[in-house]
């Protein structure tokens, strides 16, 4: 018997064991005290009916309304471990990069649900996995189906239409063309843009976010510039957007044809239960 097959067999055994174990623990008891450090998953938890199980959230959580009264236990960079432990959770939703926190949780026997940022399909996979893990598999499945249908409907609406070459901007210094951050050719927002019937002018850049120079924008000549203004303060997000600095780039088709669209609201960039709405919003901007 070769080493490789031995290893494969052991791995297979381990995997089977893990599946069995998690299945029994799931059947045995769904977590009743969940702490979520990932805001978009908090929102998903509430959408699938796991809201009553959530006992604490991260310092950046604002959605839905119900989280505003829950205790805060830090966030990605500064999780408050003492606070987390004192709340006696049976499941903590963590970021993939929070290695130390996960080690500490493991030592105290607290389960962790690992969130990894990815593309649009990853978001739906995560949603389903979260449902299974929290005992809301059916609700999560329904939610995911609804989102898939919503996305499919948007795709159908824009099918066959010319897909405008689009620059999706999510950061820019106010009143100027400095510090422009746009969506590159990978990740969740890029997938959303393509689903909404746009063609990302930065599709060839294998980064999630790109700082673009005015030269690149002039050279790529987008037909639509879609600008998302987010931030955490909803009142500020509604402030009148200023697109006048773009006029300096007169040869860009989007500027010539006045196709500078500003969408406000941080929810537009969250890979959570409102992603279907967000894609629909993008698509009405791109295909009015």
């Amino acid at each position: 018997m070769t080493m490789a097959t031995t290893r494969r067999r052991t791995q297979g055994l381990a995997l089977m064991l893990a599946v069995l174990l998690s299945a029994t623990s799931l059947v045995a008891q769904a977590p009743q005290r969940i702490i979520s450090l990932v805001p978009n998953l908090t929102e998903s938890l509430f959408s699938m009916g796991a809201g009553p199980q959530v006992v604490a959230v991260s310092s950046f959580d604002r959605e839905p309304e119900a989280v505003r009264t829950l205790p805060r236990v830090g966030a990605l960079l500064d999780p408050d471990v003492e606070r987390i432990l004192s709340l006696r959770p049976d499941l903590v939703i963590t970021y993939g990069s929070q290695v130390e926190l996960k080690a500490q949780l493991a030592r105290t026997g607290i389960a962790a649900f690992d969130y990894r940022h990815g593309g649009l399909t990853d978001a739906l996979t995560t949603l389903r996995a979260l449902g299974v893990r929290t005992g809301h598999a059916r609700e999560a499945e329904a939610l995911a189906r609804r989102l898939e249908q919503q996305i499919a409907a948007t795709r159908a609406r824009v099918a066959g239409r010319p897909r405008p070459r689009t620059l999706l901007v999510f950061g820019r210094e106010p009143g100027s063309l400095r510090n422009i951050y746009a969506v590159g050719g990978t990740g969740f927002l890029h997938d959303m843009l393509e689903a909404a019937g746009g063609r990302n002018v930065l599709a060839d850049v294998t980064q999630e976010s790109v700082q673009v120079t005015t030269e690149t924008i002039l050279a790529r000549a987008p037909e639509v510039i879609l600008e998302i203004r987010g931030g955490t303060d909803p009142s500020r997000a509604d402030a009148r957007p200023d697109t006048s600095p773009w006029q300096a780039l007169a040869s860009v088709p989007a500027v010539k044809q006045g196709r500078l669209v500003v969408l406000s609201g941080s929810w537009l960039t969250v890979p959570g239960p409102r992603v279907g709405d967000a894609i629909a919003r993008f698509s009405t901007a791109l295909h009015p």
Binding site: L77, D78, E173, L177, R178, Q207, V210, T214, E215
Partner: protein
Amino acid sequence: MMVRQRLPLVLAVSSLATLATIVWAPTVGSTPISLARVFDPAIDWASNVDAQIFFVARLPRVLAGALVGAALAAAGVVLQALLRNPLATPFTLGVSSGAALGAMLATAFHLEATLLGISAVPLASFTGAMLATAIVYGLAASQRRGLSTNVLLLAGVTLNAFFSALILFVQYFADMTDALRAVRWLMGDLDVGTLAPLAGALPLLLLAAAAMAVLPRALNLLTMGDEVAASRGVDVHRAQRLAFLSASLATGAAVSLGGPVGFIGIIVPHLVRLIVGADHRLVLPASTLLGAAFLVLCDVVARTLLAPVEVPVGIITAVIGGPFFLWLLVRHA
């Protein structure tokens, strides 16, 4: 050769080198453009992509690089003479972290006011730079016996640590994207978009240049120490005040334009001294001119190396400047 004969020669050579760089730089970039199309009056402006890349994307950026490079190199020369320390730079004194704190606060509080075409972030960083200089100068002046080098350098180190802590504190509470934006600003960014920010910084730079114009001979004498300079007929307090004011004006204006680009103030003056000697009447103008050329060249690398992704220009200057600084340290030790 007498200084009278060397001065025109040094000025002519460095002006030519700088001018050539500034003329050449806008013709290169991530996108190939045709100069014939750029200057073809038959093509309508709104549809002349080449002309817009040249005049909108590249020219303001090259000019910003020239102004920032010139200002930082000149400020470096003045501060080195003032502190009698060839390792002093605008950034040894905590001015960069002062600027950084200003930028960070502006992004954290989403200040959107503009003044003279400069938007809030650079404006706040300029205020921070001036504040840091004022604190260092105030500390040194309170010593009554003039400006002690040790006090100044230590104050600079302390201020750097203090401002850095405040920056981390602000960053800790900032939004992810805002923090990212501020961090990016700290790496230096010359893509100004329009000429308006240049026009906003120009008055400050001209003021700094006027103050520096009367300084060079006094700077020569100040490098021998305050009392020797005074006994040779220098009004030491006036010269020191002018030097401090002009250096912080230049640094503040430069940081407001391009962020705290590091190491220009040490690389350029040292290379210039190797060529023309230590006389500040030659070193100051030559460093100012060649500082412009140096940063413009670094920025050409920054915008073409990984295009369309941009390398922050501060990283380019740091990659060159870091080892250079260490080499100087070893050489002086």
